[in-house]
Amino acid sequence: MSDYRTGDPAKLIEAIPYCHHLGITAQVEDGALVLTMPFAQHLIGNPMLPALHGGVIGSLLETAAIAQVIYETRGERLPKPVDITVDYLRSGRAVTSYARARIARQGKRVVNVHAEMWQEDEAKPVANLRGHFLI
């Protein structure tokens, strides 16, 4: 279970059971890491709309942040979340979701990460996250 030490984000995500539960996978496109989460019934928070659960959106964003930190720092252990703030901008619809993250500031012990999630149009983000992680 030390696949993530290779810095391969796809293997890192594959090795995390909760990401498997949500259907999250990671791909590197043009040197940048993108996470994908196809729609599935068990991701729904509001069946009437239907809309993705806020916790699912938060989970995807937090995973994007962690994966980005591993990808960039080649860290030997998973970054530990200290705090996160998620802003929900639009309802998450019953389609595939994507997320990417960037390190805003990296210190010796703490990194500040920003992540963004979108669906069909990257210019229309569904939610974003800011968070601190211990490395």
Binding site: I16, H21, S59
Partner: protein, 152 residues
């Protein structure tokens, strides 16, 4: 002062337990009152760090988001859709593997448009929290696109 759970919410409780995400992670609502409570038994599929067995932070976020939403609904006289505006989670310590996780949330203020929530996640002792949360929720009076609302 006695607290009364709105009648519509009593009717909706079983419905809310069937929220697909909550059911999928194996969580359940255990109490609706001024403080809303949910319980999540440990499960291998919730693990975020395979080396330690600690659950993914997103699991805590999901449970707190859900319980916060419920805490808002407890304060509403009539059913209406709500939407999370923002949620901040402070992770105090990793959740111990194999142990249940509880979320307890309270809606501290409801205005015409927005409701404000504080919450805690712990493993049996609320004074030793795993995480604290602060959330703001939009109240969508009149529903969304005319869809009638029976629960969340």
């Amino acid at each position: 002062m006695t607290f009364e759970v709105p009648a519509w919410l009593k009717r909706a409780k079983s419905h809310m337990n069937m929220t697909p995400y909550l059911a999928g992670i194996g969580g359940e609502i255990v109490d609706i009152g001024p403080v809303a409570r949910a319980r999540l038994p440990y499960s291998d599929k919730l693990v975020g760090d395979p080396q330690t067995g600690v659950v993914h932070g997103g699991v805590i976020t999901g449970l707190l988001d859900h319980t916060s939403g419920l805490a808002v609904m407890v304060k509403l006289r009539e059913p209406m859709p709500i939407a999370t505006l923002d949620l901040r989670i402070d992770y105090m310590r990793p959740a111990k593997p194999q142990e249940d996780i509880f979320a307890e949330c309270e809606c501290v203020r409801v205005t015409h448009e927005v409701a404000f929530v504080r919450g805690t996640a712990h493993q049996g002792d609320a004074k030793d929290p795993i995480a604290l949360c602060t959330g703001a929720f939009m109240l969508i009076r009149g529903g969304v696109h005319g869809i009638p609302v029976t629960s969340a």
